[in-house]
Amino acid sequence: MIDAAQGFSVILILGVSVAISWLISPYVTGIFTRAPSRVDRLLNPVENLIYRLAGVEPTHGMGWKEYFLSGLLVNILQMAVAFVILSSQGMLPLNPQSFPGLNWDLSIHTAVSFATNTNLQHYTGETMLSYLSQMAAVQFLQFTSAATGICMFAAIVRGFTVGSKDMGNFYVDFVRTLTRLLIPLGFVVALILVWLGVPQTLSGHVMVVTVEGATQKLPVGPVASLVSIMQLGNNGGGYYGANAAHPFMNPNPQSNILEMVLMLLLPTSLIFVFGELLGKKREARPILIGAYTLFGINLFIAFINATHLGPGIETRIGGFFSTFWTVVSTSATTGSVNAQLAAMHPLAILSALLGMLIQAAPGSGVGVMYMVMYVVITVFIVGLMSGRTPEYLGIKITGRDVRLVMLAFLIHPAIILIPTIVAYASGAAAAIGVGSDSLGFTQVLYEYTTSAANNGSDFFGASANTVFFNISTAIVIFLGRYAPIGLMLALSGSMIGRKRGTVVGLKTDSISFSMVLVGSIIIVVALTFFPFLALGPILSFFQGYVNGLG
């Protein structure tokens, strides 16, 4: 367990994150309501120019299908661009190390992984990616995938909002999310990161002769701009293979805390934005309380056996902050790591898996969406017990709504469990040296969970750079991203113009409902995954393992 000072630091960091999130939420809301803002004078001309160049009709309102398809098609096109850059980087500029292009399967995997905000990496950045790839493939997709997720969130909320006529315009939301939120915020954060010691240069790797006379290559590059958006946008894909354990990405405790706050910032802020966009601020309550209660439970599980400094843990970060970070990164579905996952206690891995399976504690752009799904199903199942047809936000929940939500819940177990079995049955797991024991099973289960949840933290790294793992995880990632979003947009789109009651029997904004919500989320996730968690980290725990290093 953790000591008092560590407990205090948890509360302080979470408190600060929630406070800043709350402070920026009115501004973020304005991005989607298009309310007049002080930045209009500067940004309106820029945005209007973009609309004109791209042929966007800003006043055009989209239905859910058009909104979804626009987002999906933009993302697919962006994947294609990234695929071309990654696979042909050897022939492209900004490649001082003269790295060759990536294999087709790794290029596809990387493009899909980054375009979907997953950032599962089967490559080692410092030895495989050119500066152009790091910028125009990786950072580019880190921006756009975060923006896409946030746009989808906004569209979903619009569907639930009284008086909405449409889901908004994807292109406008997308452009405004970039110009008004991610780029300016990313700009400030990147400069702070440089100041804290994160490199940002385009000159090649620095070769030095060490004090004892050996040659050493220092892999500098455009790192700060990447770390900024990767944490801010809950992407999690690092510049280096070691991710945020690498001192160039996370040079000191200050940067470590800053990056943790950044991971929580937008997911938490969007919870407040949810209430503000709805025009019912109190409705953010169950989502906030639910998310942070689940987060607290995850922290508790992870801290039962806090990891100590040892193999796989960085000195400047320490066991406590490595564990804390892992929970933040998986609960907020970022997926960056500042320590080796294999160095983590099985209970910390259990906590990480739970965070990814819940995907809303607090989750990234789509975290609120998952929470809304949990609310809908909870309202439906337990809400009947209030003696009324269950309503959420005054809207009666119909059979169709329930079907859409159940389908979304069905996707997760299907795309996690089936490939896990196939990985073993086909020998693909054994081929990369993964064992058939609880530790190995945990790693394979984790690989597909992190893919399905669009998280990106993993045990394997470049060792999973095989055709099987590249393609299977790419498929899981793609389905895990777009299927739930599509279903949720369909649900939300059907809310537009639907009859709304003014008397709400079940008060979803009450503390008591929030607690019932937490209970039902735990039951839903536990019922779906308990046997597999039992064969993985839970079994490792009972078998007495203290980490996954074997």
Partner: protein
Amino acid sequence: MVLDREKPVKSSNPKSIGTDLRVSIFSGKVLIDSLVRLSPVSLASNPVMLIVEVTFFIVAAMAIYPQGFVPVASPSGRLFYVEISAILFVTVWFSTFSAALAEQQAKNTASSLRKLETEVLSKKIVTEKWSRKIIPTKSTELRRSDLILLEKNDIVPIDADVIEGIAMVDESLVTGESTPVRKAPGDALIGGSRIVSDTITARVTANPGETYIDQMIKLVESSKRPKTPNEQAITMVLFGLTAIFSIIIASLLGISVTLDLGADLSVILALYVCLLPTTIGALLPAIGLSGMSRLYQRKIVAKSGKAIETAGDVDVIVLDKTGTITVGNREAMELIPFEGYSKREVGEAAFLSSWYDDTPEGRSIIRLAYDKGFIPDNLNALGLAHVYEFSASTRSSGVKLAHSDDFMLPKGGKAISQRQRISRKYSSASEESVSSSFGEVEIIKGAPDSIKTMVRSIPNNFDEAVDTISASGHTPIAIARNGEAIGIIRLRDVLKTGIKEKIQSIKIMGIRPIMVTGDQPLTARSIASEVGIEECVPRAKAEDKFGIVQKAQAESRIVAMIGDGTNDAPALAVADVGLAMSSGTEAAKEAANMVDLESNPAKIIDVVLLGKQLLMTRGAVTAFSIANDVAKYFAIVPVLFASTISQLQALNILGLGLNSAVLSTLMFNAIIIPLLIPLAMKGIAFKPTNTMSIFLRNTLIYGVGGIIVPFVGIKLIDILLSMF
């Protein structure tokens, strides 16, 4: 007020309705029906139970030929497979049994309702070749387009059109209009009205009210009973859960085979069945049917299951004052003389004017005057009195007396014996009497504003007295004698017993009652506030109800209302829940989605409570069923891979034996179905409090309870099994 499961909210004769569970259970019909339903074809409508049946076949096959299932079965497990397949079979049978039982109960209740219909013997005209025959036929057996003969004093059995003849018809029973109406060919006759003169032939235009019961019985009997929106949504949850658990079980099997974990197929299938929402899957049809049965027990016929469900969602109830909040009759309380007149004068005038007023109001006026000792000495004169019948246009009635010493028996009426007694006792009494004993006396009583127009001068405090009475929620009746207003009678509305509590209970659940009345505003408001209703619509006609319902619906409210007249039909049709009185017109019954055979409008509140109970019961069993799965995991997962992974025994927090863990969990899973049948059929008990309290209470009992109960239950069964 508690909606108790033991006692129906209101039922005049609950024993007569076939609701006794024991009787139903022992009827062989239910048993046979439950066995017939075991066929996979009839189970197709219940996929959850169909899957359980399929697992039964698989495990039974494993018991017969275990060698064929290696490596996921072992020949040494034969007895175990037999045990598992037996429990699986019983599980399916429990579910078909509960469905058969609920259906039988609903049928029994529905058919017993037929007896409640008031029957009128009518004269059906049957044309046979050359001759016409008159056949005495029960009104319930008449059908649309039958011809009937109606003679003087006959009751029109059912809505019909006149084809031949002209007659005067008294529609006062239906419309309240006392003046008989002339009906000629083409005119419509309203069921329940009375022929006053002449003979007519008419063609029946509607099937009798009993057809609703037929409709209901069909609804109950049909295996393709349409699912209500709520049932559809729950079915989606069940489908979703079934799909999720199918993936989980297939994955467990796949992992076990791939990683060589040695799990037995029978144990995996047992886990599957335990996880499947079998409890709610088995009881869902029974819950819906029992909801209807509970309505029948209160002698209310619903035309669809959806209507009962919608009743639970009602936000606004439009209540008629008369009949719902107050008993139809007003009661005289006080006599108030105007200046220059004594109480006795008013009392005697009131007495005389009410002699021929054979309404409860009139009788109560006589009772009041009699109790106060204001007995007129010229009672005999009543015998030759000229009677002014109540007319809706003047809203007054009265008598004109000529002086006479001859004693005559007064005109008959329901209260004739009482009047005779009074007459005999006081006819000779001639103490001081203020009423004039010579010349003509004309006494008129009626609505104050109409009396105002008849009198020569209006006393100074006339309006003040009228307003004071109205403001206190009472009704003023003015009395005029020979063209002079002499006083006012204060009539009081009599509240129905328990109505205040009922209003309180619906308000506490967040439902808004709106009172509709023809009374004037002051009276209306006063009665409304007496029972705790904030909103009332005074001086309303039946037609106004439509607007009231629409206005509430425009505010996204779910509205329930009652009605009986043809004028109510549009409002009944547009209301989300429309409860028509069986005594009402065919049009009203046609428009409504429920009909109360007892014609008790106050039952609308019970309907709402029943709707809530139905939804709650469904939610409670669903939540309970899902919550049960937690314990089942903890019981079975530790033993699933027991042969290869011993460490998972750490999760065996119940300390169950290897085989016993599977058998006890399966047994619990099966036995919980019949154990919950009474709950499903009677509905869960609840106290009307605010929605959140109800929600939290039920979540605690059925949600949290649903997690705890199986832990205890499984352990108990395990202990029992270990004794053998």
